[in-house]
């Protein structure tokens, strides 16, 4: 079996000193595939995303997270990112005084040796390609990171960064929330552009709507801190029609694979 995959094994986590939120998550996203992670509010989806990226406000009590067979559990957030992981935040922060271009150059150079900074031409070509992919005006790269951005622009910026940083595995934490259909299409176009044999993604969402544009290879359903079932892309439609209570009872009765 190929080792090229993002893997979560029996992951348990809680807010430092609080109650357990993740109660044994098992999940595999092979390189080259895009998986959807669906679930209701409070099911633990966003916690899972943040725990994977190394958010220091959570405590992992059991289990493991592996990138291509290597555990990243002991790594700091920046080391995880340099190992190839990327989290598109649900609520990206603002960094005044730092342009998108400067920010991304620093982020790219952080992945390289001190004496091997990315060339100016190479960098701008990469950046321009990404900007174009997202139907964005080029002037955006001179704007301060997320300062005065609308919710939709922030989400678009998260995908722009993904395209420039080219991670091996990306987690998209409700990137679709708050987007209108046009914005949704643009963002999806960006994610689809990143798809390829060397890229795996976990797309976290409430709604099936996003999956019309980013068609997943697999759909996982999360409830109460666990993955309760995994299916094909049709599962998302069924969920949309019949709701989460339906799938919970299906799983409980043994009709759906647990």
């Amino acid at each position: 079996m190929s080792e090229n995959r993002l893997e979560i094994r029996n992951l348990h986590a809680r807010i430092e000193g609080g109650a357990e939120i993740l109660k044994g998550v098992d999940l595999v996203v092979p390189a080259g595939e895009v998986h959807a992670l669906m679930g209701q509010n409070g099911s633990g989806k966003s916690t899972l995303a943040k725990v994977m990226a190394g958010d220091p406000s959570y405590e992992i009590t059991d289990g493991d997270i592996l990138i291509d067979g290597e555990s990243i559990l002991e790594m700091e957030p920046d080391e995880r990112a340099r190992a190839g992981l990327y989290l598109a935040f649900q609520y990206p922060v603002e960094v005044p005084g730092v342009s998108i271009a400067n920010f991304l150059r620093l982020a790219l150079n952080a992945r390289r040796e001190d004496d091997d900074e990315i060339g100016v031409m190479e960098f701008y070509e990469k950046l321009q390609r990404a900007v174009k992919e997202l139907n964005w005006d080029e002037s955006i790269i001179e704007r301060n990171l997320h300062e005065g951005f609308s919710g939709g622009e922030k989400k678009r910026s998260e995908i722009l960064q993904l395209l420039v940083l080219e991670p091996k595995y990306a987690i998209l934490d409700e990137t679709d929330s708050g987007l209108d259909v046009d914005a949704l299409k643009v963002v999806s176009q960006g994610v689809n552009a990143a798809r390829g044999a060397n890229f795996g993604a976990l797309v976290i969402t409430h709604y099936q709507r996003l999956l019309n544009y980013i068609v997943p290879d697999k759909v996982h359903v999360m409830s109460d801190g666990r993955i309760i079932t995994t299916g094909e892309k049709e599962l998302a439609m069924q969920l949309d029609d019949k709701g989460y209570d339906w799938i919970k009872s299906e799983v409980a009765s043994g009709a759906a694979p647990a």
């Binding site: 990112a81 922060v93 005084g97 620093l106």
Partner: protein, 440 residues
């Protein structure tokens, strides 16, 4: 603290030598002697004085200074040379160890005087006499009395009515020997005239301890426009005490920026007196303390006239067990109606060992005014740090961005691009950003 009469540097005899060496006219000699008497009669500040409560007084001590022997060098150092080349000033003075060692002036505008202060006392006696000690004098406090008595040299700028000086003027104050140095800047800008001035304090580190006292007097006539930047980037062996005081005539506008990034300890007092109706004073401050540096900043926005505006924004970042104090007050006199006055201080603590004290105050004697003040002091928001690190940035790179972002609110309001770039570079060098070295 020991009595100062013990210190031969500060005796009446030492003062007579200063007067003699400078060839002071009698009126100035008398001012100096009176200032020394005030100095002697004024007790040293203690922690019991409200304005000095949080100041680490021993770091500003002038009693234990040991002056370096021998004649001072009159060479312009490489550090200053590079700073001069980097500035786009029309006129530059270099003061080293209390002496003026260089003057470059390519001033095109007519009637502008740009001179060292001692020469100005000789060549423009009436003008200097009219304005010297008009905003910072011996009664401003113990240290300012010391300056009023002992100032060695400094800068004089005079811009006549309706003249706009296009490019900045500036003075670099430096030292390579220990002891006591005292400098003074006097800037007089007449009706509807305009000038930009940069006072920069910088030195290579040297072994002996130096105390530098600075006084800056800004006199703005009606409609005058002044941009003034004080940039303190001394070597780590220097204690710096600076008082900047401006009086503003009707509809005058002052934009000041006070930067503290160098030295061991620094205290900056920034006062604006809105004496004319409709006058405006924007008072920005920026500091970044590391490795135990101690910075004090005091602001006074004194609204004497109606319809005036003032806005204080002081922001600072601290790390490595550093310490900062901000204390500011808005005073609105009775009758200063329609005053618009704001005061904000924000501190970013980069580690748990650093500490910032912030005391904003209001004293309002009029009833139709808009005033607000606020302060915040806190650590780096964890969500911001996490976000930056999740992009692969090492903790020190993330910190650099967070500090840059935090200080941006001040930097973005600095209207002198060259100076702003330099300040940014100094901050980045202090942060240890890879690839960024402070140009000397």
């Amino acid at each position: 603290m020991a009595t100062l009469t013990d210190n031969p540097l500060l005796s009446a005899g030492a003062l007579e030598a200063v007067i003699r060496n400078g060839g002071d006219p009698e009126w100035l000699a008398e001012e100096r002697r009176a200032a020394l008497r005030t100095f002697m009669a004024t007790p040293w500040p203690t922690e019991r004085d409200e304005d000095w409560r949080y100041t680490q007084l021993d770091r500003f001590s002038v009693t234990n200074l040991e002056p370096t022997d021998g004649p001072a060098s009159r060479e312009v150092s490489e550090r200053i040379r590079m700073r001069m080349e980097d500035s786009d000033a029309e006129g530059i003075l270099v003061h080293a160890n209390g002496e003026t060692i260089e003057r470059i002036a390519k001033i095109r505008e007519e009637g502008v005087i740009f001179s060292d202060l001692r020469s100005a006392v000789r060549d423009h006696e009436d003008l200097v006499r009219e304005h010297l000690y008009s905003t910072v004098n011996a009664h401003a406090g113990k240290y300012h009395a010391l300056n009023a008595a002992f100032w060695q040299n400094g800068t004089f700028v005079y811009v006549p009515k309706n003249v706009e000086v296009e490019l900045p003027l500036g003075a670099f104050t430096t030292a390579d020997r220990g002891g006591l140095s005292m400098g003074r800047t006097l800037i007089v800008v007449e009706d509807n005239a305009k000038v930009t001035f940069l006072d920069e304090y910088t030195s290579d580190p040297f072994d002996a301890r130096l105390f530098h006292g600075a006084a800056t007097e800004l006199v703005l006539g009606p409609g005058a426009k002044v941009r003034y930047l004080s940039l303190q980037n001394w070597g780590r062996n220097v204690a710096h005490m600076n008082r900047l005081a401006a009086k503003l005539g009707r509809d005058a506008r002052l934009e000041s920026l006070t930067v503290s990034v160098g030295g061991d300890a620094a205290r900056a007092e920034v006062n604006s007196s809105m004496q004319g109706p409709g006058s405006e004073s924007e008072m920005l401050g920026l500091y970044f303390a590391d490795k135990g540096q101690h910075y004090n900043q005091y602001t006074l926005q004194h609204h004497e006239a109606d319809h005036a505006f003032s806005d204080v924004l002081f922001k600072g970042a601290l790390r490595d067990a550093s310490h900062a104090v901000y204390s500011g007050i808005i005073v609105v006199d009775e009758g200063a109606q329609k005053t618009d006055a704001y005061q904000t201080n924000r501190n970013l603590l980069l580690d748990a060992e650093s500490e910032a004290v912030s005391i904003p105050q209001l004293q309002i004697g009029a009833n139709d005014v808009r005033c607000s003040h606020g302060s915040t002091t806190g650590p780096v928001p964890e969500d911001q740090r996490f976000y930056l690190m999740s992009r692969g940035m090492q903790p020190e790179v993330a910190e650099h961005l967070l500090v840059t972002g935090f200080l941006y609110e001040v930097m973005s309001r600095v209207t002198l691009p060259k100076a702003a770039e330099y300040v940014e570079r100094v901050v980045q060098a202090k942060l240890g950003v890879p690839g960024v070295k402070e140009k000397l």
